[in-house]
């Protein structure tokens, strides 16, 4: 099966090379695509120098738009599986096989790499964990699916989901909403334990000052997504 690893990168000049090198070492059997989201630093130059496989967005679209470009690319180039990892080295590509396995066995449509199952490695701050808990409960209420790490950006999806996400993908803070979107479509969602590291460099897309806004927006988005897709549920 053809596998594409999508790496959204915004101002990741310090870590992008390492992330790519580690990926090619851990999983030489997969293709990858870096999506440079109009970075203002030297990310693009580094990618050019490396002759990396990348696309470069002419305007900044944010994480959702960047990841969706990757899914569009996967769709156009006939990939069977698309995996999404962060460009900052937070996600250990040694776990790629773990995330891919349920998809290759066709046991799931969406696989989420969760840092809260084995409870190893970087666990994020208490505040953020509390926020994630709230979102998880909301997702459970809306879809009946139990997720432990709904904001994890380490996830793999199969061809059916690639088609869905290429067509519509949430924009601003997409991870939790994307789960709900897949769930209302009747996708089988599976969480597997992975170990995450603390960000090497760069800036998280969730800044502390914006957390309240983030929680509110994501909660509304989840509920809206559930309501507006009610009829389509299989």
């Amino acid at each position: 099966m053809k596998v594409l690893v999508i790496i959204p990168a915004y101002n990741e000049e310090e870590s992008i090379k390492m992330t790519i090198d580690k990926l090619s070492k851990d999983a030489p059997y997969v293709d990858y695509l870096v999506v440079n989201d109009c970075s203002r630093d030297h990310t693009k130059e580094i990618l050019e120098q490396m002759h990396a496989s990348f696309i470069s967005l002419p305007v900044n679209l944010g994480i959702g738009g960047a990841v969706q470009s990757g899914y569009r690319y996967a769709l156009a180039n006939h990939y069977d599986i698309a995996v999404q990892i962060d460009g900052d080295g937070q996600h250990d590509t040694a776990y790629l096989a773990t995330v891919l396995e349920p998809l290759q066995k066709q046991e799931a449509d969406v696989v989420i790499g969760s840092r809260f199952i084995a409870k190893e490695g970087f666990q994020s701050s208490g505040m953020r964990r509390a926020g994630i808990k709230i979102l998880d409960s909301l997702i459970f209420l809306c879809t009946g699916i139990e997720i432990k790490d709904s904001t994890s950006g380490f996830r793999a999806i199969n061809r059916t989901m690639i088609e869905l996400y290429a067509k519509e993908y949430p924009i601003d803070y997409p991870e939790p909403e994307a789960i709900v979107r897949a769930a209302v479509e009747g996708a089988r969602i599976l969480e597997v334990p992975v170990v995450m590291k603390e960000r090497n460099a760069g800036q998280s897309s969730i800044r502390p000052l914006h957390s309240a806004y983030y929680m509110l927006k994501v909660s509304i988005a989840i509920i809206l997504c559930r309501i507006s897709n009610h009829k389509r549920r299989k």
Binding site: V35, S53, F54, I55, S56, L57, P58, V59, L61, G65, Q68, S69, R72, Y73, A76, I171
Partner: protein, 130 residues
């Protein structure tokens, strides 16, 4: 509503329509988005020419003074127009997003084709040299 107010209102509305017409003629406004403005203007014009209808309508919804009714109507139209603007902006950002993604993917293809061409050129040059 006094006669003077009525006259000034009509003048104002005529200017309003002339402005919209000019924008439309210069094609700086597309008709699709101007329909709301035109409808709002026509309703206002109707109420200015037949103030009695407005006084009755305003009484019916429980507003005491006709002027307050007029203001409420204005605000209502402004809110509707703002909402339609937000919806237009959202639709456009969606389209821009799709375009951006498509351009980026195409740019990668172009880059790869150029690289292939360069290699092919180098090869043919080498063969000519040999």
């Amino acid at each position: 509503m006094s006669n003077t107010l009525q006259i000034f209102m009509i003048i104002a509305e005529v200017i309003y329509f002339i402005l919209i017409f000019c924008f439309l003629k210069r094609k700086t406004l597309s008709l699709k988005y101007t329909l709301l403005w035109l409808i709002a203007g026509l309703v206002m014009l109707f109420f200015t020419i037949f103030p009695l209808t407005m006084i009755r309508a305003v009484k019916f919804i429980g507003v005491e003074s006709a002027m307050n009714g007029l203001f409420a109507l204005c605000i209502f139209f402004i809110i509707i127009i703002l909402m339609s603007l937000t919806s237009i902006a959202s639709k456009q950002s969606e389209r821009i997003r799709t375009l951006t993604q498509q351009i980026a993917i195409l740019e990668k293809r172009v880059r790869e084709i150029e690289e292939l061409n360069e290699k092919a050129d180098e090869n043919s040059n080498m063969q000519e040299g040999a």
